[in-house]
């Protein structure tokens, strides 16, 4: 087990290193001279002499490898440099935004888990009957509706027509509900199929036959025998979906006028603010790698078969 964890940690560290190289090369290979940009940002005329001075100052004239080491050292300590557009510290901007996006994703993950388990069990309880068809139809609809359209529909239904919830900005705990639901729709749809198919497969296993012969009812078998069996698959799929939620957050945050990492990333892309793009990209990639690591460890915890294999 310790062997597995150490191997998995090593794997994640290699991935993290690759992610940092990708982020670094992206910005280094970007067209245009960064020193000129910064010189103009400071309100000075970008004379060759001044540009050289700026280059000296931020270390652009050093060899590429040295620049990478410097940059990585700063990034590990949480210093992502300054934004080319606003001149502000990127890390200071990011700190609060990471909390917002983190809460958005965590809340949506909980909602998606609850909805998908409910829909999946509904389908598995009455397979190929009406509830199963309804749950399947909802899953298809949820997986196919564009996220921004889901958001627009939510705003139209809950804020415009019924005026129950605020449509944008942060105003009290109520304003979390719509963004949470909007982000949760797609993962809930995908995960409900995972639950449904996993349960169906588990219900054909020999241990279910044993449980039936012991006289257990369908409900008891589903919850006591089949559910623990699909937990590893579900955790795995949930991890993938949580990773994908970062992409959904990029769409949902501007829709509800929220100030999160996604919104920051989008602004960086729009104004070609390379430092912001780089910092956000590194955060996203780190997030995927960490989520994958956590999922693998969680699968290890929930699946005795794998645990035994590695001990």
């Amino acid at each position: 087990m310790i062997h597995f964890i150490s191997k998995r940690l090593k794997h994640s560290l290699i991935l993290l290193f690759m992610a940092s190289v990708v982020c670094f090369t992206l910005v280094v290979s970007a067209p245009g001279n960064v020193a000129v940009l910064i010189a103009e940002l400071r309100g000075a005329v970008a004379t060759p002499g001044y540009v050289e001075q700026v280059e000296e100052e931020i270390g652009l004239n050093k060899p590429l490898l040295m620049r990478y080491v410097d940059w990585l050292g700063d990034a590990v300590r949480g210093d992502f440099g300054i934004s080319y557009r606003t001149g502000q510290d990127v890390s200071a901007d990011l700190a609060n935004r990471m909390l917002v996006t983190g809460t958005l994703i965590a809340g949506s993950a909980v909602i998606a888990t609850l909805i998908s388990l409910a829909l999946g069990f509904l389908g598995a309880f009455w397979p190929y009957k009406l509830p199963d068809r309804v749950s399947r139809g909802l899953a298809l609809l949820g997986a196919s509706t564009p996220t921004f359209f889901v958001g627009a529909l939510m705003i139209y239904a809950f804020s415009v027509t019924f005026q129950l919830l605020p449509s944008f900005g942060f105003a009290g705990p109520k304003s979390w509900i719509l963004p949470w639901l909007t982000i949760a729709v797609l993962p809930a749809a995908v995960l409900s199929r995972v639950v449904r198919v996993g349960l169906e497969e588990a219900m054909t296993s020999p241990f279910v036959l044993t449980a039936k012969s012991k006289g257990l009812g369908r409900t008891a078998i589903l919850f006591r025998e089949a559910l623990p069996n699909i937990t590893p698959i579900f955790v795995n799929a949930l991890g993938t979906q949580v990773g994908l939620m970062t992409a959904t957050a990029i769409i949902v945050e501007p829709l509800f006028a929220w100030q999160g990492v996604g919104d920051y990333f989008l602004a960086g892309v729009r104004f070609r603010d390379f430092m912001v793009v780089q910092a956000c990209l590194l955060i996203f990639l780190t997030f995927f790698i960490v989520v994958n690591l956590v999922v693998d460890l969680a699968v290890l915890m929930t699946d005795p078969r794998i645990r035994r294999q590695w001990s």
Partner: protein, 298 residues
């Protein structure tokens, strides 16, 4: 007619509703310039925000442009961009996939590692990063989405290429002294392209969604070219007074995506047995009946 029969038989096994939706989308997209009753970009501020009428079947938007015409032209925009994205992505994916499948060894390992990483990062984040570096624009969007999409076709074409390479006729060609070029271009590439194309249709829905999403974020198709995602974001400030302009493009896009997703699912699940529906029972009966007819002909 006889040549068409196998194709028709294959189409018959796919969900009919999905085929009709996709057919409608492709037909609208192809013939949009002749089908749109009015100029989609003609503004008339006096007619802004109107409801449905004889002149404007689905009303007008906040600039007085005919919504019906814009929805139809948007199908064309969507179809063309999805086609070019998938075209570029499949070219990259098939080329790299077949090279990996032909060469094996470290080339295969390296390319598949790259594909794994590419598939694990959401396509929206990859394409946004590319746009952030290169700058927004139509061809940047196509390039960015293609860079996010090629790993899928890369993985499939590698799998197909590996299975082709292990077939006896490739071995026979080797024995006969065929050059690597002849094996690659004459046998491996044509065999792979056909199979990968089928899977590409399943991807078309998500590609259309991605184009619309980037346009919604203002980084894809630029106004005044109509596109569903961009029409939706354009009308969003007027959601309260004129919700129709938000709902119509949204529903159009959702319909197209549902069509492609259903088709993709039926392609992916083709070999999994499921309970017979009444339609399938009728089809089976018709088929069995035709067998006896064949025998009596002979």
């Amino acid at each position: 007619m006889n040549m068409l029969n196998p194709i028709l038989a294959r189409l018959n096994k796919m969900p009919r509703a999905a085929l009709i939706t996709i057919g409608l989308f492709v037909a609208l997209g192809t013939f949009a310039p002749w089908l749109a009753p009015q100029d989609p970009s003609a503004q008339n501020l006096l007619d802004a925000g109107l409801g449905p009428s004889a002149a404007h079947w689905l009303g007008t938007d906040h600039l007085g442009r005919d919504t019906f015409s814009r929805l139809i032209i948007a199908a064309n925009t969507s179809l063309v961009s999805v086609g070019s994205v998938l075209g570029v992505a499949m070219t990259i994916g098939i080329l790299l996939g077949t090279i990996a499948g032909y060469h094996r060894g470290w080339v295969d390992d390296l390319l598949m590692r790259v594909v794994d990483v590419g598939l694990s990062v959401p396509s929206l984040i990859i394409s946004l990063a590319v746009i952030g570096i290169v700058g927004p624009g139509y061809w940047t969007m196509v390039l960015a989405l293609a860079l996010a999409w090629w790993p899928m076709s890369g993985r499939i074409s590698r799998a197909v290429a590996v299975s082709i390479m292990s077939k006896p006729h490739i071995e026979a060609l080797r024995v006969l002294g065929a050059s690597p070029w002849r094996i690659y271009f004459g046998h491996l590439l044509p065999g792979t392209i056909g199979s990968v194309m089928v899977y590409a249709t399943a991807d078309a829905g998500t590609a259309a969604l991605a184009v619309a999403t980037l346009s919604f974020l203002g980084l894809g198709i630029q106004p005044p070219t109509p596109e569903w995602g961009q029409m939706l974001v354009d009308a969003l400030p007027y959601l309260e007074s004129d919700p129709r302009q938000v709902l119509l493009p949204g529903f159009a896009l959702t319909m197209a995506v549902i069509g492609f997703n259903t088709l993709g699912e039926s392609i992916a699940l083709n070999r999994i047995p499921k309970p017979l529906t009444r339609r399938m029972l009728a089809m089976r009966r018709a088929e069995v009946a035709s067998w006896s007819k064949e025998n009596s002909d002979a």
